[in-house]
């Protein structure tokens, strides 16, 4: 437990030192999307019976919680290959669960902060959405899933360059295609099938349903929880393998 707190607290201290820059970073791309896609198109575009902004904001929440929680992979990598700080954890009498848990919770914290930023940015656009327990549950599961994936992959990659390659080939495409900016129904059936395999698709679906006041998408939520658990177990394994 002490190890878990230490790992988490270290990330929080770093976050605190960088807070202004981090918040600005969390705000910039959602703001651009809101202005470019939402405001410019206005409510003239209706999707699934709602204005495009109402459709877009839950998508941005899903996207940001994914990219921000996955973002810890980059920090873990820099700490490991450039600053060698990972060795400080390896030499400490802490379990792998403590390490992975601390990093994952740090990723989730970042994601929740980013979601808060989006919800605040959405205010001046006058969009009314429902942010109830199911909405937050889904957001938390989504960030848990991608923070776990981040730790798992950060232990596997051999350099910082590999890490950014992963981000541009896995995370960025998923951010755009996972039901964030447009409904999957507009795509050909085969493409829908492919995109249904992405965890983010289920996250954005469930988050949107909740935000628009629909019945909870339990199937999507359970799927997300399952994938998250697998990624977390994967992270435990790769951390164990990370010694040379």
């Amino acid at each position: 437990m002490n190890g878990f707190i230490a790992v988490y607290l270290r990330e929080m201290l770093i976050l605190k030192h960088r807070l202004k820059r981090q918040l600005a970073g969390m705000a910039v791309s959602p703001l651009l999307y809101l202005i470019a896609f939402g405001y410019a198109m206005g409510d003239s575009v209706q999707i699934e019976g709602v204005g495009y902004l109402q459709f877009l904001i839950p998508g941005l929440v899903a996207m940001s919680s994914m990219t921000q929680s996955f973002g810890i992979a980059t920090d873990i990598n820099v700490a490991r290959f450039y600053w060698h700080i990972f060795e400080e954890f390896q030499a400490a009498p802490i379990s792998n669960v403590a390490y992975v848990g601390g990093e994952v919770l740090a990723g989730m914290t970042r994601a929740l902060l980013a979601v808060g930023v989006i919800l605040i940015l959405g205010l001046p656009f006058g969009v009314m959405l429902q942010y109830g327990p199911v909405f937050w549950l889904t957001v938390i599961l989504n960030s848990f899933t991608f923070a776990s994936l981040a730790v798992a992959l950060a232990m596997l990659v051999k350099s910082h360059a590999d890490q950014s390659l992963l981000t541009s080939f896995v995370i960025t495409p998923m951010a755009f295609l996972g039901g964030t900016f447009f409904p999957l129904e507009r795509l050909p059936v085969w493409a829908q099938k492919v995109l249904q395999a992405l965890p983010l698709t289920h996250a954005s679906g469930a988050i949107r349903t909740a935000a628009l006041g629909g019945p909870p998408d339990w199937r999507g939520i359970l799927l997300l929880a399952g994938v998250g658990a697998v990624f977390f177990a994967g992270a435990l394994m790769t951390v164990k393998q990370a010694r040379d």
């Binding site: 002490n2 190890g3 707190i5 230490a6 790992v7 607290l9 270290r10 201290l13 770093i14 030192h17 960088r18 700490a79 600053w83 060698h84 700080i85 060795e87 400080e88 954890f89 390896q90 030499a91 400490a92 009498p93 802490i94 379990s95 010694r243 040379d244």
Partner: protein, 308 residues
Amino acid sequence: MIKIEDLRKSYGKTRALSGIDLHVPAGELFAYLGPNGAGKTTTIRILTGLTRLGQGRAALNGHDIVRASLAAKRQCGLVPQQVNLDSELTVQENLDIHGRLFSMAATARRSRIHELLDYVNLLDRRDSLVKHLSGGMKRRVMLARALMHQPRILFLDEPTVGLDAQIRRRIWALIKKIQQDGATIFLTTHYIEEAEFLADRVAFLDEGRIKAVDTPAVLMKGVGQWAMDWLSDKGMHTDYFPDREAAVQPAGTAKNGFTLRRVNLEDAFLMLTGKKVAVPAGDDKRLHGGSSAHAAHTSHGGHGKGGH
């Protein structure tokens, strides 16, 4: 107490350690001396849990490093070869996180941080970001961090590499003090003077094997008391003599000048391994009998040291 039995480690085809046996009793300051690539860091990394052990066994204060890895880790503090502090955090935050990793209570952490920063003379920098510190200061913070949880065994991997002479002496004094406070210290170095000045016992490590283990005095005694470096057309040579009188006679015949000096650990290492400890970077060539001019000892009574 450190006990190592037949420790082996390979990276692919590279054999880093080929069978190390060592026993370091509690309270000893033990120096592991060897040129770059000898396997010093690999040994420390295995003992502290950073690198997987290949074959063999090791125990720290009786705790097996594989079967009781967490208990073994609680015994030791580590100052790795390269600086690995959190540069975006303050000095105090770095130490505090370390204390938490070792389950120290809040009050204990607070008083220990104060005590240690005083010890390493950095109390006024406790709220500075690590990235704003000089190299020597960072080294001292690393030392303080490693001591946070009062380890009974301290591993120092080349603790003074790249530091100037004055700061090096200061860190030596600190290391002595830490030993006097009761810790067992395992130090690696490729600086002869460091081992000579600090160590109770020295191991000569070369190509993953231990060539000799003993006190510096005994290791040097095997060579003789006096050394004469002299230049011929073929380069620099060194001859050894049991006493000064024996050395003076042949000295008269050296036509290109000579230096007479006390024997040091470098001579002992050279004798046993056929190479110098401090080989200039990128220059691995073995030195037979004599030594090449640029790595020669030139000062009277001084301790020779090659390139950096």
